[in-house]
Amino acid sequence: MILFEGPWTFLSLATLVTMVAVAISILVASLRVMRGPSLPDRVVALDLVGLLAVSVISVVAIATQQPVLLDAAIALALIAFLSTVAFARFIEWQGEKAE
């Protein structure tokens, strides 16, 4: 983390606070993944976790001064969207099979 090696600036402090907040958000969202009473609850929470992973990537790109990491954010957003749609189709197919 290059940003944290020099003296403290406003940006490095804000980056640190943001990292902690996003980490807490991921923990809280995975609480719903574990606890959610139905499958759509878990899928919603997993979608949020994917979005939070995109945020983590952009914050880490700022902290390490490596803008190449934003390419991974593109791929991760794409995969999160595709997995959500696939889960939604699976839920519909499951409901159809049960009837």
Partner: protein
């Protein structure tokens, strides 16, 4: 450039606040549909603010274009994913909150027609005096 750092830091902190509120909403709301409301809108805004902060910090054209591509991709896909997931949850008969008072879809979907492969058509209305728009 101290002002660039201040702008980027404020964007980061605002995005963190939105993301945290969205995660708390996913846990605290009583219903799948309300949880979807929390996760989709506030989460997209928070992630978009963080991507904007990255583009402000680096300040190059290629990086700005890249982060805006990610943001517009999130902006395009979040409503689509939420709609598909809400439709699936409605078909799967996920229980709504007990104090939900309005279900505008009740009786308007043909249960037999809602196959996963095709779009569901609204069922015929009992009163035909109001035409569909």
């Amino acid at each position: 450039m101290i002002w660039v750092e201040v702008i980027a830091g404020v964007m980061l902190l605002t995005g963190a606040a939105f993301v945290l509120v969205s995660a708390i909403g996913v846990v605290r709301f009583p219903d799948v549909y309300m949880r979807m409301h929390a996760a989709t809108k506030a989460g997209t805004l928070g992630a978009g603010l963080m991507l904007g902060a990255a583009s402000v910090v680096f300040g190059e054209l290629g990086i700005t274009v890249r982060s805006f591509v990610v943001f517009f991709f999130l902006l395009l896909t979040a409503p689509v994913a939420a709609h598909v997931l809400g439709r699936a949850a409605y078909y799967a008969n996920v229980p709504r909150w007990e104090r939900t008072r309005l279900d505008e879809l009740a009786g308007r979907y043909d249960e037999a027609d809602a196959t996963p492969g095709e779009f569901a058509r609204p069922a015929a209305r009992a009163t035909d005096d109001i035409p569909y728009p």
